[in-house]
Subunit: 162 residues, 2 copies
DNA sequence: TATTGTTATACTCTATAACTATA
DNA sequence: TATAGTTATAGAGTATAACAATA
């Protein structure tokens, strides 16, 4: 939803970010799809492997709604990549653990993503790579002009104070 | 849907692009919302002003589906920013023209977007700005590794050959 | 009473399909 | 028959609301 005519593209930051984001997400979706995963599956699975995290903790880390997390976990379990087990300490919460297949899948996913990133960044000079990543970090991290996800007051879909 | 743990962020291109894209889109949505426009409205309106374009031509330029274009035009007309008039040459097609209010709105929108871009890019050094934009262009434009929107074969929602 | 996870559901967005009118 | 625009609708994604079990 954001294309400008060619003569406008040159200066259009929004177009450049959108295109880069969408195209890279599409390519990640393709290579991860070949491993039976979505990008979101991978984000959750990669975090779940390392620590003993509950669904809620994982949801917070991945910036997912808890109901979206349920769907994601359902999918990961059905695919045999993760398992939910009730915590003995608090029987309300469920720990998400990767299976062996899940760990292998994460490892493979890391490889294909590394390859992809290498291919993408490979068209840049080393100096361009460094400056690009530094600049993006500066914009995006805490305090930068693209850090706070200030909610658009005119946006739809917000029923209560939440 | 794409947050990594902090120690992973450093190298995560996908996270950086997504965050930058989403945050900038949110900020554009906010400032354009104050003018009664969505980002998509602006994209269409800015193109409609210049030339005598039909809905279909505008849809193609803005990479919108023609049915989405109908909704957008409905909104622009209701807001008094654009008007559709049947072409005398071909009575099937409708020319989309900006109203005076629409031209003013585009001008104001250009201003607030310029201000916003200035604020965002202002945190970078001139050299960083140049390299960032050059590098993004290199990735995104024709032939770059993020140019083709290769459809993900595992993605949902595709019924026929179209 | 508060909290974790689940289910049900509603809302938005976008795109396909079918339709009207012109060509 | 093909094309521009419209309408209707279905699909996917996500978030709110209500609920069950547990604390």
């Amino acid at each position: 939803m954001d294309a400008r005519s060619d003569d406008e593209i040159r200066a259009d930051l929004s177009y450049l970010f959108d295109k880069a984001s969408q195209a890279l997400a599409a390519r990640m979706g393709t290579v991860l799809g070949e491993l039976g995963m979505t990008v979101r599956d991978y984000c959750v699975l990669a975090k779940a492997g390392a620590h003993e995290l509950t669904q809620g903790e994982l949801a917070e880390m991945a910036l997912l709604d808890k109901t979206t997390m349920v769907v994601t976990c359902d999918h990961l379990e059905k695919a045999g990549l993760a398992q939910r087990t009730p915590s003995p300490a608090d029987r309300r919460v469920r720990i998400v653990r990767t299976t062996e297949a899940g760990d292998e899948a994460v490892a493979k996913a890391r490889d294909v993503i590394d390859d992809l990133y290498g291919e993408v960044l490979g068209v840049l000079t080393p100096e361009q790579r460094t400056v690009l990543l530094d600049a993006l970090m500066k914009l995006v991290t805490h305090g930068g002009p693209l850090s706070a996800v200030e909610p658009n007051p005119h946006a739809p879909r917000r029923k209560r104070g939440a």
